[in-house]
């Protein structure tokens, strides 16, 4: 029997090194003869490269481009899709696209040389917005319609129900770009080790990097060893994007034979990196004479930027979350990812779900307004529960504890009383939102695509090594997985070691994405630990390996997107209270209350940290994080004085609670939660502001100048 509940917090295993500043990040790695690299990037959003004029390169300086890719190598980065080019060849699709690397021993000299590289383009009309992409402004550059993907899922009979509807509500909700702003900027070092190539990189998914770049030099995956360095934050921005650094570096080190380092400064990391997909979601919603929603016809479009990368998968998650936490008897959701001449959109905490969840919550608020009822009344009437049919005609397979979570946030926030006392337009407002997040890869992806493995090694001294590709990036995974293994082995967590992965030494437990690592990898680790415990006395040294096992009875058809898109969901409820300054329309947030169902918390303090960070990031997304296109730098708000993220002064301390709801297939009952906590606060904030100023809101972000426009 366990002595203490697993949820009791322990000191994070990475706490001391991070607080003391002794941890080594990728920029701290130095090797003999190491050269530095600077990226030569496209300066135009769309065009043909006519010529590249280089200054005279001093001895020891190199220009690396697609011409250096060896015979048999392919100029592509193999992300989910393989369309992202390592180096632009003839055409460029967006500002900041990699054209080449300048490599040499002195960074000042490289800077000087970079300013003298002269590239001439034949520019073409380009598209920036979703509408321009759909209209194929300047002619399509992806297929004949600029669409990376276009699919529709149906539940029930939407057309028939619309004919009998009492009222129909139409709406259009938009969300903007968002930049990850991980504390540590992107960086990597490539070098040769014997006949192999080694990449040191700040990344979420070392095995993804290996797979993505080995083909550039026409080598098997095993010839490229990826070592994850301590990663100072990622938020999805280091899921595929590290490939964009590692690929050119691999070609450089292959060509030159020396170690090469590329570290982005904050300006580069902010201007020339992937972003969250901007979205446009259109609703047509049928309501019956009792005020119940009977059908929704939803059209979702995501702005994917210049390359597809993982946009199809991001869009799938957006589509599958488009009716939120509600049981809508009939629904049709169409999803499209459109190509535009902007920096590619990619993974970002929530992975497509935050956009549609914001949209559906805000749309329901608008309907409730028209029906003259509180949004809460409309929403709770439609809460999903166990056994309900999902938008993909699968089922909710778990107990849904939304009513209990709702009760917690109502009690703590005083929502009912405040709704009564704060008149609309009184510059005081309170808002509420509900959200969920399907844990792990969609459908049977864990079984068919990922096939995760976990290796545990018992050492002579009795310590145990957890050898997996999953990564710590600040989210607390090392602490969580060490606790799970120690708990199963019934040993002190200090005897379990979990080093940063090296792809030549650890099992591929899959990418550290999709809120899957505690839930899926943790479960395999738990099984591996139990099996090691059973065999503990067999030998002084012992290695066990376990593989993912898919629970029986959850059908999924990836071709038609029918069935159980997710086996287990995390759930959330959030209340936000605001006061709007009547002179300046600055918003002062006066209260934040949330309740989450994460199954069972593996470490309550880690969960608390994730809830706090996720909610603040979501509030920043709604309130201030604005990105506009710029013809000069790609984005107008570049760097931390122009791209505004919240400080600790901007939002008050939060009250967050959990409702325990053990998940059958997770370790100690845990489910995923890292993304869930981002998914909903933005809608609660916008609801609160909307009530405070008595105006409907259709898009985020809403800085004070936007609120002024709403009012005047």
């Amino acid at each position: 029997m366990r002595q203490t509940p697993i949820g009791n917090p322990i000191r994070r295993v990475d706490a001391v090194a991070k607080a003391a500043g002794t941890l080594k990040y990728v920029a701290d790695y130095h090797f003999d003869d190491m050269l530095y690299a600077k990226m030569v990037r496209s300066a135009v959003p769309r065009g043909k490269i006519l010529s590249i004029d280089l200054p005279d390169l001093p001895t020891g300086y190199y220009f690396i481009s697609h011409k250096d890719i060896p015979e048999g190598g392919k100029n592509q980065l193999q992300m989910i899709k393989s369309d992202y080019k390592c180096f632009a060849e003839n055409e460029v699709r967006f500002i900041g696209e990699t054209i080449g690397l300048l490599v040499g021993p002195d960074r000042g000299e490289l800077e000087e040389l970079l300013s003298k590289v002269d590239i001439s383009y034949e520019t073409q009309p380009y598209s920036v917005t979703i509408e321009e992409g759909l209209e194929c402004k300047g002619g399509p550059f992806v297929g004949d319609d600029n669409l990376f993907c276009d699919f529709t899922i149906d539940k029930g009979d939407v057309d028939k129900v619309f004919k009998n509807a009492d009222r129909i509500f139409e709406d259009e909700i938009r969300t903007g770009w968002q930049e990850h702003v991980h504390l540590e900027t992107n960086g990597a070092v490539a070098l040769c080790e014997g006949d192999k190539f080694v990449i040191y990189v700040s990344a979420q998914c070392p095995f993804y990097v290996r797979k993505s770049i080995a083909g550039l030099i026409n080598r098997p995956y095993e010839d490229v060893i990826v070592r994850q360095t301590a990663t100072g934050g990622a938020f999805g921005g280091k899921e595929h994007f590290p490939d964009v650094l590692a690929g050119p570096l691999l070609v450089a080190t292959y060509t030159i034979g020396k170690p090469v380092q590329l570290i982005f400064d904050r300006f580069e990391d902010s201007a020339y990196s992937v972003k969250r997909h901007p979205s446009r979601t259109r609703f047509k919603t049928a309501v019956d004479d009792k005020g119940n929603i009977i059908a929704m016809d939803i059209d979702v479009v995501y702005n994917a930027g210049g390359y597809e990368s993982c946009s199809y998968v991001v869009l799938q998650r957006g589509v599958f979350h488009a009716t939120g936490v509600y049981n809508i008897p009939n629904s049709r959701v169409r999803g499209r990812a459109v190509a535009t001449n902007t920096f590619p959109s990619d993974a970002f905490r929530g992975f497509g779900a935050p956009q549609t969840l914001f949209a559906v919550e805000t749309h329901l608020n608008h309907i409730a307004d028209s029906l003259h009822i509180d949004p809460l009344e409309l929403k709770r009437r439609h809460f999903l529960k166990k056994g309900d049919v999902t938008v993909t005609n699968g089922h909710i397979n778990e107990n849904v504890v939304l009513p209990e979570m709702l009760q917690q946030v109502l009690d703590q926030s005083g929502y009912p009383e405040k709704v009564r006392t704060y008149e609309k337009g009184s510059y005081k407002g309170i808002g509420i939102s509900f959200y969920n997040h399907g844990g792990a890869f969609t459908g049977n992806g864990e079984q068919m695509i990922i096939k995760a493995k976990v290796r545990l090694k018992k050492n002579r001294n009795g310590t145990v090594d957890l050898l997996i590709g999953s990564t710590e990036m600040g989210q607390g995974l090392q602490t969580a997985l060490i606790k799970i293994v120690a708990d199963a082995l019934q040993i002190d967590p200090k005897y379990v070691r979990y080093p940063n992965p090296d792809t030549s030494k650890v099992a591929d437990s899959g990418p550290t994405v999709a809120s899957r690592s505690t839930m899926i990898v943790g479960k395999i680790a738990e099984r591996a630990a139990l099996s090691l415990k059973e065999r503990w006395n067999e030998s002084d040294e012992l290695t066990v390996e376990e593989e993912y096992e898919h629970p029986e009875g959850f059908p999924w058809d990836q071709a038609t997107f029918q069935g159980d898109a997710y086996i287990g969901y995390g759930w959330g409820a959030c209340v936000v209270e605001v006061e709007v300054d009547p002179l300046t329309f600055e918003v002062n947030t006066t209260g934040i209350w949330s309740s989450h169902d994460v199954g069972v918390a593996i470490d309550e303090l880690v969960v608390h940290g994730q809830v706090n960070g996720g909610i603040i990031q979501s509030l920043g997304y709604a309130a201030m994080e604005k990105l506009d296109f710029s013809q000069k730098t790609g984005f107008k708000q570049v760097g931390l004085s122009d791209y505004i993220i919240p400080t600790s002064m901007d939002f008050p301390s939060q009250r967050c609670t959990l409702v325990e709801n053990p998940y059958e297939y997770g370790p100690s009952g845990a489910k995923g939660m890292g993304e869930l906590v981002f998914n909903g606060a933005s809608a609660a904030y916008v609801d609160a502001v909307s009530r405070a100023v008595n105006r409907p809101i259709y898009s985020i972000p809403i800085p004070p100048e936007t609120i002024t426009e709403l009012i005047s």
């Binding site: 530095y36 800077e111 400064d265 009547p582 002179l583 201030m624 004085s641 505004i644 901007d650 800085p703």
Partner: protein, 289 residues
């Protein structure tokens, strides 16, 4: 690459170097080092010679001289923020500038000579008719700050001069009511979207004897108009309400915001309306918030 960098021992040497080389003074470096950065691991490169003046003892200190508060040019925002002799609005502006670490380095001289349209300190200083003292090896000039800053990133500083002092006249009759508001991009560590500093003085008979208001981030330089202010002088408190529409439209005409014009204009109108209405009412605090 820094072509030439001087570190003068005292003001006299600094003035000599300035005259001979036109080296530009670098104090806290919080603007210059950022503008001229060249990326990770490389020192900034300046297109002209610089001299690091941050340690010059003759340019430190805050003191009172007759009816003026004198702030020497190397005084940092943190020092201003904490000094009781400095007028409230200047202290407030200093306290809201950037982050702690920046305020420990950034100097009043730098904030003025950088002449950013969004600069925080010039707004209350110009409202209070502050003057700047410009010293060279051969002489001394004193200019109103409003004339010293000529446009965005432009000043009247001669190539042999160093800004040594900022002199703030203390009004003989204290302001009856004062106002300072900075609207930043967020609550801390923020650049101004708009800032406004205003003051009003009533006689015992409740007649306006002084009224002044200045706006930051509302045009190429700090916006202030003595003609507009004149409209209110001689007005009785109970007549202020009647004059507000005229004041607001006249004040609006002096603003020329480049970006977000609607937001900057309408917020200014609401703030000015609020300040004057509050000040005209009988029982009101001196510092209006």
């Amino acid at each position: 690459m820094v072509e030439s960098c001087y570190i003068p021992k005292d003001l006299k040497e600094a003035l000599r170097i300035r005259k001979e080389t036109q080296a530009r003074p670098l104090a806290g470096g919080t603007d210059l080092m950022v503008v001229h950065r060249r990326g990770t691991g490389v020192v900034p490169s300046f297109p002209w010679p610089v001299m690091i003046v941050s340690r010059l003892p003759q340019l430190q200190g805050i003191f009172t001289d007759g009816n003026e508060i004198v702030i020497r040019s190397l005084v940092t925002c943190s020092e201003i923020e904490k000094n009781d002799d400095v007028p409230y609005q200047v202290r407030k502006a200093a306290s809201l500038l950037g982050a702690h670490s920046l305020r420990n380095l950034a100097t009043i001289g730098g904030n003025i000579c950088n002449a950013s349209p969004k600069g925080d300190l010039p707004v209350p200083l110009i409202m209070m008719d502050a003057k700047v003292v410009l010293l060279s090896a051969t002489g001394k000039r004193i200019l109103p700050l409003d004339e010293f800053i000529t446009g965005p990133k432009k000043t009247a500083l001669h190539s042999d001069e160093i800004l040594t002092e900022i002199r703030i006249p203390v009004p003989t009759v204290p302001y009856s009511h004062i106002w300072y508001r900075k609207i930043g991009t967020r609550k801390a560590n923020a650049i101004s979207k708009l800032s406004m500093s205003a003051a009003i003085t009533f006689s015992q008979e409740r007649i306006v004897t002084d009224f002044r208001s200045a706006n930051g981030a509302s045009g190429p330089k700090v916006a202030r108009s003595r003609e507009v202010e004149q409209i209110l002088i001689g007005t009785h408190a109970r007549e202020i309400a009647n004059k507000i529409p005229e004041i607001l439209s006249a004040y609006d005409a002096i603003l020329s915001p480049h970006a977000m014009p609607e937001y900057r204009r309408s917020s200014t109108r609401r703030m000015l309306h609020y300040f004057l209405t509050k000040a005209a009412s009988e029982d009101c605090e001196r510092i209006i918030i």
